[in-house]
Symmetry: C2
Subunit: 345 residues, 2 copies
DNA sequence: TTGTAAGCGTTATCAT
DNA sequence: ATGATAACGCTTACAA
């Protein structure tokens, strides 16, 4: 029987190995119907006898049949998968961005496959290599310049997170650092500070540092490289180390602007460890608006960013790209920080 | 020319709509070669003239051609996608679990599509409905009982997170709450506490509460329902509310064991707000070991869980399931908490 | 080096 | 109500 079906049956060496998955054909055979009928039963379309339907479903159950998503995808269009590349799941900032991406994607019926690049450029590229085969578009944080990205993209649409128009030609969603920092420095100025340092988190002169320098110069405050310390890590530990450095270089500062909240919290800890009271002796201003900032002592004054919105905007850009519309750059699509005054500054 | 190709060209109504994606066929036509040759060029196999290869690649570029992942998946086996369902990306606990899942999945060359169920059982089911069509297995947090899950699984393998053998017949990865709580209560006892309350986070008598009751009774400490308060939310706010409740019901307690760190931090805040010093008047013990616990004041004593490991173990279970091996339950595969003593207790 | 043919597992269309 | 047949877009033999 079925002698024409020269299906290579598994050798049955291992008693319980991962056998070949059952196909619609197998189910049809077992139920004694055509594949079409199986399809109808499984997708419960009408036009099928309840009795045969039950029989088919039973056969499917028996064989542990699940339709191949590939075969389905091939014939039913419209399954969209976007890749999301995040640098560091341990920084509370990024899970919130991810939440925004997931939320917006779900509303459109899209799926999101996530990659944790762990702040490693090689891993960023690796993510692109893989995702360019598995996703319809990618959203994420990348350090590489446009040409390198293009190389690993294989033509797949990309939306960059936190990149301004000067930094990339790709579609992007930015943070209006200038607007944020202006508020922050104004606040420090109001409190009487004239000697303000910065704890930066990136090497090149990124938007936050640039904005800082502009504000500080506009108000005629003293500043040069020694007023800016680099934090190797975007973490509390990184902030502590950076603050130590900064305080060694410029002991006279009365306020610091930190690249992000984690660094700011580290700065507070280092300052206190060195005997300075915060904010009395040293004011600390963060950038992020993490929930965490409310829980530390003193509570962190910070430039709050709507992280979910950042994620949502990115998905919106993907939609534009897919629709063939003109993508926006990180100035046109951006979220603007809002000063939240708490105790630290 | 090509008059046999009755391809329905897009009506070209919208000038820039999302046209039909180019297929390997289109590229072949444009380059004047067979589809096979295109395939060779794109996947850069050998056996192809460098000149034609270049010509093909150019054509592909022109048409913005990207191979269909569905067609590919159909013919090349081995693309594995696992779904990950997480209840709350804003609780720092879960991103770390996710990081573990991502890490282990990546090592196996698997992809992970993530769903945020936002602690909503309806959304959990929805996630299963979708993922049962798009993933090869699912890992995650689910509240529904086994039979409901089965219904939405469509035969797809499932690995439950933080579920013991009494709670599910599915494969699972658990947390050895009993071992953890034993350490915690012993510590409180050592410090002289005899009146210990609990801030629970789930309604039914979950493993943490059960373990708490067992320890407390074993040591002959007083306890009844009034010693346990429910926190509606697993958050700092939830912890504050719960602590208020507990302190109203049992003002005499000198220590609390909290369902998780966020709740514990809320408890500290509520206690202090009500004029109690922590830990002098009231000791607070958390459960999670969030990094955050080191940053609050006083630093949180907690039962630390290796969250990444939890995620890794879950992926390992998926591998077993796929290999047809016997899955483990949440006792066989589990992570055991470790007491980390800091200032709060 | 290149092309032809067969199949991967499904669904849509059109008969029956 | 059910079945045949033709796609869907790609890769892997096998020929040429």
């Amino acid at each position: 029987m079925w002698s024409d079906n020269q299906q290579r049956e598994p050798q049955d060496g291992a008693p319980d190995g991962p056998r070949r998955r059952a196909t619609i054909h197998d189910v049809a055979r077992l139920a004694g119907v055509s594949r079409q009928t199986v399809s109808r039963a499984v997708n419960d379309k009408g036009e099928i006898d309840p009795a045969t339907k039950e029989r088919v479903l039973e056969a499917a159950r028996l064989l542990d049949y699940r339709p191949s998503r590939f075969a389905r995808g091939l014939v039913r269009k419209g399954t969209v998968t976007v890749g999301l590349v995040i640098p560091d799941l341990k920084n509370p900032f990024f899970p919130e961005v991810a939440a925004g991406v997931l939320e917006a994607a779900e509303q459109r019926g899209w799926q999101v496959v996530v990659w944790d690049s762990r702040i490693d450029e090689a891993r960023e590229r690796e993510a692109l290599d893989v995702l360019s085969h598995q996703a319809d578009a990618v959203v994420g944080y990348f350090k590489d310049p446009d040409d390198v990205l293009t190389q690993h993209l294989g033509g797949m649409p990309l939306v960059l997170l936190e990149r301004g128009p000067q930094q990339t030609g790709f579609a992007a969603v930015g943070i209006d650092a200038a607007a944020g920092v202006a508020q922050g420095i104004a606040h420090l100025l109001d409190a009487g500070h004239r000697r303000i340092g910065m704890l930066d988190g990136v090497h090149g002169p990124g938007p936050r540092r640039l904005a800082f320098l502009e504000q500080v110069r506009r108000h005629g405050l003293p500043v040069d490289e020694s007023w800016i310390a680099m934090c190797a890590e975007h973490s509390v530990a990184g902030g502590e180390a950076g603050m130590d450095q900064l305080l060694d270089a410029q002991p006279e500062i009365t306020a610091v602007f930190a690249f992000n909240d984690l660094i700011a919290i580290g700065a507070v800890r280092a300052a206190r460890r060195r005997g300075r009271r915060v904010p009395e002796d040293l004011a600390v201003l963060g950038f992020d608006g993490l929930a965490l900032g409310e829980l530390v002592e003193p509570a962190l004054t910070t430039l709050h960013i709507d992280k979910r919105q950042l994620g949502r905007l990115a998905v919106e850009q993907v939609a534009r790209l897919r629709a063939g519309e003109e993508p926006m750059n990180g100035t046109e699509a951006s979220v603007v920080p809002e000063l939240v005054v708490r105790a630290s500054a």
